[in-house]
C-alpha cells in the first residue's frame, strides 16, 4: 500500500516540490494530495505584475491544466487545512474533508506583513500577493488617480510598476533611508531611485507612517514627521510573514519571530512533518525569494523518494539579479559589507550606473557586491565570489571598463532587425546560423547566410555579433586574420616589428600557411606600410585593388582620381588646372564629401598620364584609394568667419600635410572647425578638432558610414603643439592595435576601458609607450613620398597600367553615356548575371 503524502500549499514552492516528487519517482511510492488555499493552481507570483498588462493568468500558470491529474496527484483547491492532529496523523480542510497522512509538508508560504498603524480598515487599502488581490485593486482603481505603495523592497517596487502600468500616479513609501534596504547600500539606492523616478515613480524615503487618512475610504497617508501624502489608494507590500499559524496552533515548533523551525533535512520537531519555502525557518533565516524555496523543495523531495540516502539543505546564497522597472539590479554575497571589508565602488549618475565590490580586507577575495543600471558583470563576479577565487591584482578592472556600446546596441536589437540589407539577412538568421554550430568564423557565417557578401557594410556588425554569441556560448573567440594566419592583426603587427619581417612572403612562410588571400594580403600590406612606410607599389600584388592602382576602381572597371587639396583650400589657378586636365581626359567631375574634387571615368592605361599632368601642376595623390589618412576638412575659421575663434583652415592644412599617406587598419578622416558651431563636422571624423577661446578640443572615434557616431572628447583647450602630439599618439596607438578594417569608432568601443582608458594611455602614458608612438609617427611623417610621383618617374612601374600585356589597345568594352553634360559609365546589366 502506498504511503500518504500531504502537501499544504500550492504556491511556487509547493508546485516545484510536486514536480520533483514526480521526477524522482515518488508517485510510485506515495499517494500525493496537495491542498491549495487559492481557487487556482500554482502560478508564477514573481511575475505577478504582468497580470496588469495582459490580464491573463494563463501565461502565469506553472503547469498545464491536467498536469496534476496526469501524474496521479490529487489537487484540492480553495481548501486550506484548518486543523491538524499529529498523533492520529490527520488534517481537516475548510470543506470538512479529513485526510490521513504519513508524511506532511508545509509549503504554506507567507502573507504580506501589515504594519500597525491606524486606519488600515478603510476601503482602498490592499495587499499585493495573489491574483485575487490584483483583481480587487484593478476594480477599485478605476475611479482613482493616485496610488501609494507601502514598501520599497523588491515586491514593493514590483507593485509600483504594476500601478504605473495601470496608468496611475505611482508613489513608493519606504520606512528605511534607502530602497531595497536588504540588498542595496545608500549609493546604489540613490542611483536606482533616480532611475526609477525618471520613469515616473515618485519615491518617499525615511517615512514612518502615522495613520491612514479618510472617512470610510482611504484618502492619504500621514507620516510621523507631520507631512501628508495625498493619494486615493494604498497597496501594502512591506515584507512577508510566514504562514505558520496552523503549525503553531497544533504543536509544531516555530521561531520567536515566526517561521516553522526546520533542520538541515527540512524536518520539524514532529516526526514525518516538514516545511519548505517562505514558511520554513532554517538557521534563523526566512528566505523571501523563490530560489531558496526551490532548493528546499528539491532536497526534501529527494530525501522522501530515496530512503537511506539523504541530502542536506545548507542554506542559500541570497544573490539576485533582476530587472526592476526596467533597471538591472544585482546583489550578491555580503553586499552591504557587514563584515570587515575593503569596498571599491564606481558611480556614474549620468548613465545611472553603480557598481560596488566588497573585498576581503587584504583585497584578494570577493565577498559580495552590488550592480545597478548595468549588471553585465554579474555572472562573472558571482563565479569569483562563489568559488572564492583569488582576484586579479587590479580588482577594480572587474567593474570599470564598459563593454562595447555597439555590441550592447546590437544586443538590444530585436531578432527580426535587418543586419545585411543587400541579402535581407536578419539578426535572428545570423544567430540561428551561429547557434546551429554551422559557422564559427566570419567566413563560415558569410557562406551560411550570405550576409556581408553584398556591399560588405554590415561585416563589422556581423563580426561583433559572432564574437558576442560565441563568447556567450563560452567558446574561445578566435580573432585570426583568416585561414592563413592563426594570429590577430595586432599580433601580426608585433611579429613584423619584432622579427623585422618586410614582405608578405616572409610572413606567410614563417608565421602562416598556404598562399594567402584577399583578406590577409592587404592586412599584411597595411602592417608593412605602417612600420616601414616604403612606397606601397613595392608590394603591389598584396595591396587591395585601389591601393594597387593608386586610384579607386569604379563601375566598368574605370578609375577615379582625387588629387590632394589640403584643408579644402585651393587657388583659382589650381581650380583651372584641374578643369583643364579633366577636359583633356574627358573626366567626369564631382566635389567630394571631403572638400576635394573627384575626377572619374579614367581608363587604367590613362592613369599615369593624368597623374603626370597633375604632379607637374603641383598636385599630389590624395590617397582617396587607401586604407590611409584621407582628408582634413575645415571651415574658413577666424580668417573670414565673424564667429571663428581660431584659424581652422591653417590648422587643417598643417594636419593634412603631416599625416598624408599614412596607412592604417582602415581609412582615417579628420576635420577642424573654427568654433563651436562646428561647420566642418569634426565630430563625425576619426579625429576632429574644434576651436575654443583657449585653444583646441580634440575629439576621437567618430565616423559617418553604416553606424554614424559622434567622436568623443579626448582632451580640451589644447595648444596646437600638444594637440598634434596627442594626435600622433592616438593615430599610432590605433594603427598598432586595431583589428583589420576596423574604424576608430569600433576600435574605441572594443577597447577595454573605453575613452577613459584611452585618455590614460594618450595623456598620462599609462602604458609607457608614448615616446615610441611619437618616434614611429615622426618616422612615417619623414618618409612620405607621393605615390603617383613614384610611378610616373619609373617606366617599369607604368607598364603595369596597360590593359593588355600583349597589345597597346585599351579596353574596348568600357562604354559611357552622357548625363547632365558629362559622361558616365553605362549601367550594369540588371540582376541577371552576364553569361558569356
Amino acid at each position: 500500500m502506498k504511503r500518504k503524502l500531504v502537501v499544504i500549499g500550492n504556491g511556487m514552492v509547493g508546485h516545484r516540490f510536486a514536480e520533483k516528487i514526480v521526477e524522482f519517482g515518488g508517485t510510485e511510492k506515495f499517494e500525493v494530495t496537495i491542498l491549495g488555499e487559492e481557487p487556482r493552481r500554482a502560478y508564477d507570483r514573481v511575475h505577478l505584475s504582468e497580470y496588469f498588462t495582459n490580464r491573463s493568468v494563463d501565461s502565469l500558470y506553472l503547469s498545464g491544466s491536467d498536469w496534476y491529474r496526469t501524474n496521479g496527484i490529487r489537487l484540492l483547491l480553495s481548501q486550506p487545512a484548518i486543523s491538524l492532529d499529529t498523533v492520529s496523523r490527520k488534517i481537516v480542510t475548510s470543506a470538512g474533508t479529513e485526510l490521513e497522512f504519513d508524511e506532511l509538508v508545509f509549503a504554506t508560504g507567507s502573507s504580506p506583513f501589515i504594519p500597525s498603524f491606524e486606519g488600515l480598515d478603510k476601503e482602498g487599502v490592499f495587499v499585493y500577493r495573489t491574483i485575487e488581490d490584483l483583481e480587487k485593486m484593478m476594480s477599485y482603481a478605476k475611479g482613482i488617480s493616485k496610488v501609494a505603495v507601502l514598501g520599497g523592497g523588491l515586491l514593493g517596487l514590483e507593485a509600483a510598476k504594476a500601478v504605473l502600468d495601470m496608468g496611475k500616479e505611482s508613489h513608493v513609501v519606504e520606512f528605511a533611508s534607502r530602497l531595497m534596504p536588504r540588498q542595496l547600500d545608500e549609493a546604489a539606492s540613490a542611483i536606482l531611485k533616480s532611475k526609477i523616478e525618471s520613469l515616473g515613480v515618485r519615491i518617499h524615503l525615511q517615512k514612518e507612517t502615522k495613520r491612514a487618512l479618510g472617512e470610510s475610504s482611504f484618502q492619504g497617508l500621514e507620516f510621523v514627521d507631520g507631512s501628508i501624502l495625498d493619494v486615493d489608494m494604498l497597496v501594502i507590500s512591506a515584507g512577508i510573514r510566514p504562514r505558520d499559524e496552523l503549525a503553531k496552533n497544533f504543536g509544531i515548533e516555530v521561531g520567536p519571530r515566526g517561521g516553522i523551525q526546520v533542520d538541515d533535512e527540512l524536518r520539524t520537531n514532529v516526526y514525518g512533518v516538514y516545511a519548505i519555502g517562505e514558511v520554513a525557518l532554517h538557521k534563523n533565516m526566512i528566505y523571501g525569494l523563490v530560489a531558496p524555496g526551490y532548493e528546499m523543495a528539491e532536497v526534501l523531495a529527494y530525501n522522501l523518494c530515496s530512503p537511506g540516502k539523504s541530502k542536506q539543505y545548507l542554506g542559500s546564497d541570497l544573490s539576485t539579479k533582476l530587472k526592476l522597472i526596467g533597471v538591472d539590479v544585482a546583489s550578491f554575497g555580503d553586499a552591504l559589507g557587514q563584515e570587515e571589508h575593503l569596498p571599491i565602488a564606481y558611480t556614474n549618475p549620468r548613465t545611472g550606473v553603480y557598481k560596488k565590490l566588497v573585498l576581503s580586507p587584504d583585497g584578494k577575495k570577493l565577498r559580495g557586491g552590488i550592480l545597478v543600471g548595468d549588471a553585465d558583470a554579474y555572472s562573472n563576479l558571482l563565479t569569483l565570489y562563489l568559488n572564492n577565487v583569488d582576484l586579479p591584482s587590479e580588482p577594480e578592472r572587474l567593474i570599470v571598463g564598459s563593454p562595447s556600446e555597439e555590441n550592447s546596441a546590437l544586443g538590444s536589437l530585436p531578432d527580426d532587425a535587418k543586419i545585411c540589407s543587400c541579402n535581407n539577412v536578419s539578426k535572428g538568421d545570423l544567430l540561428n546560423a551561429i547557434r546551429s554550430g554551422a559557422c564559427s568564423d566570419l567566413g563560415g557565417l558569410k557562406d551560411c547566410t550570405k550576409a556581408g557578401t553584398g556591399c560588405g557594410g554590415c561585416v563589422p556588425q556581423m563580426n561583433s555579433l559572432l564574437k558576442e554569441e560565441l563568447r556567450a556560448q563560452g567558446k574561445v573567440v578566435t580573432e585570426h586574420v583568416c585561414e592563413h594566419f592563426k594570429y590577430s592583426r595586432q599580433e601580426l603587427f608585433q611579429i613584423a616589428k619584432v622579427k623585422g619581417i618586410k614582405t608578405f612572403d616572409e610572413m606567410v612562410r614563417s608565421h602562416g600557411m598556404g598562399n594567402g588571400c584577399e583578406v590577409c594580403k592587404p592586412a599584411v600590406a597595411s602592417i608593412l606600410a605602417s612600420i616601414y612606410n616604403e612606397p606601397i607599389q613595392k608590394h603591389r600584388e598584396i595591396q587591395d585593388t585601389n591601393d594597387k592602382y593608386l586610384a579607386n576602381i569604379q563601375r566598368g572597371g574605370t578609375y577615379s582620381v582625387v588629387p590632394r587639396i589640403p584643408g579644402g583650400e585651393i587657388t583659382p589657378e589650381k581650380l583651372i588646372v584641374i578643369g583643364q586636365i579633366a577636359k583633356k581626359y574627358e573626366l567626369y567631375c564631382k566635389i567630394t564629401g571631403g572638400q576635394r574634387i573627384d575626377l572619374l571615368g579614367a581608363k587604367m592605361d590613362q592613369l599615369p598620364d593624368i597623374w603626370r599632368d597633375l604632379v607637374e601642376e603641383g598636385f599630389e595623390s590624395g590617397h582617396a584609394y587607401g586604407k590611409a589618412m584621407r582628408t582634413v576638412k575645415s571651415c574658413v575659421g577666424s580668417t573670414w568667419c565673424r564667429y571663428g575663434v581660431q584659424d581652422s583652415t591653417a590648422f587643417a592644412i598643417r594636419i593634412e600635410e603631416r599625416y598624408r599617406g599614412i596607412r592604417a587598419p582602415h581609412k582615417l578622416k579628420s576635420a577642424v572647425s573654427g568654433c563651436i558651431r562646428e561647420c566642418a563636422e569634426a565630430r563625425g571624423k576619426d579625429f576632429g578638432i574644434i576651436a575654443t577661446e583657449k585653444g583646441w578640443n580634440l575629439y576621437v572615434g567618430g565616423n559617418g558610414g553604416v553606424n554614424p557616431k559622434h567622436a568623443v572628447l579626448l582632451a580640451a583647450d589644447l595648444d596646437e603643439e600638444t594637440c598634434v602630439k596627442y594626435m600622433d599618439r592616438f593615430i599610432m596607438f590605433y594603427v598598432r592595435t586595431a583589428d583589420k578594417l576596423t574604424r576608430t569608432s569600433a576600435w574605441l568601443e572594443q577597447l577595454e576601458g573605453g575613452i577613459d582608458y584611452l585618455k590614460d594611455v594618450i595623456i598620462n602614458d599609462r602604458l609607457g609607450i608614448n615616446k615610441d608612438l611619437e618616434a614611429e609617427m615622426e618616422s612615417l611623417v619623414g618618409s612620405y613620398v607621393c605615390e603617383w610621383k613614384d610611378v610616373i618617374e619609373d617606366p617599369e612601374k607604368q607598364k603595369k597600367y596597360k590593359h593588355f600585356i600583349n597589345s597597346g589597345d585599351t579596353d574596348p568594352t568600357v562604354l559611357f553615356i552622357n548625363e547632365r553634360g558629362q559622361k558616365r559609365p553605362v549601367d550594369w546589366p540588371k540582376k541577371e548575371a552576364v553569361v558569356n
Binding site: 558569410k446 557562406d447 550570405k450 557578401t453 553584398g454 560588405g456 585561414e483 592563413h484 612572403d505 606567410v508 598556404g514 598562399n515 594567402g516 588571400c517 584577399e518 590577409c520 594580403k521 592587404p522 603591389r540 600584388e541 598584396i542 587591395d544 585593388t545 594597387k548 592602382y549 576602381i553 563601375r555 566598368g556 572597371g557 587604367m604 607598364k799 603595369k800 590593359h803 593588355f804 600585356i805 600583349n806 597589345s807 589597345d809 579596353d811 568594352t813 568600357v814 550594369w828 546589366p829 548575371a833 552576364v834 553569361v835 558569356n836
Partner: protein, 117 residues
C-alpha cells in the same frame, strides 16, 4: 592543370618575365580577354575569363590571387567574389562561374590553350 576536351590550340601571349609574380595580367587572345595569373608561390600558372560574371566588367586580371583551403582562387576586385582558378566555380556561393583555360610555358614564353575555332 586545366583541361579542354579537344586538343587546344596554343597561342603565345608574352614572355614570362613580363608577368608580375604572384599576380595577374590580361591577354588578348583571338579577340577574347583572358586573365593570366603567375602563381609563383605554387609554381603554377592559371588562366580564366577576364570578365566578371557578376558585373560584366573586364577586371578579373586585376584581382588578388590566393587560396581557400588549398584551392587556388582569384578574388574579383569589384566585390571580392572568389572563383576557383582550377574549375572556374564561384566559391563565394554564387551560381555563376567563369571559364578557365590551360596555360603552357615553353622557352620563356607563356601560351594559352584555346579550343580550335
Amino acid at each position: 592543370m586545366n583541361s579542354i576536351a579537344k586538343e587546344p590550340v596554343w597561342i603565345p601571349v608574352a614572355p614570362v618575365s613580363e608577368f608580375p609574380e604572384e599576380g595577374g595580367a590580361c591577354a588578348k587572345v583571338n579577340g577574347t580577354q583572358i586573365a593570366v595569373f603567375r602563381f609563383s608561390s605554387r609554381n603554377e600558372w592559371f588562366a580564366c575569363d577576364n570578365k566578371c560574371p557578376h558585373t560584366g566588367d573586364m577586371v578579373l586580371s586585376r584581382g588578388m590571387i590566393g587560396d581557400s583551403k588549398g584551392e587556388p582562387k582569384v578574388a574579383c576586385p569589384m566585390h571580392k567574389k572568389s572563383f576557383s582558378l582550377r574549375t572556374g566555380e564561384c566559391i563565394s556561393g554564387e551560381e555563376y562561374s567563369i571559364k578557365t583555360y590551360p596555360v603552357h610555358i615553353e622557352d620563356g614564353t607563356v601560351y594559352i590553350g584555346i579550343e580550335k575555332p
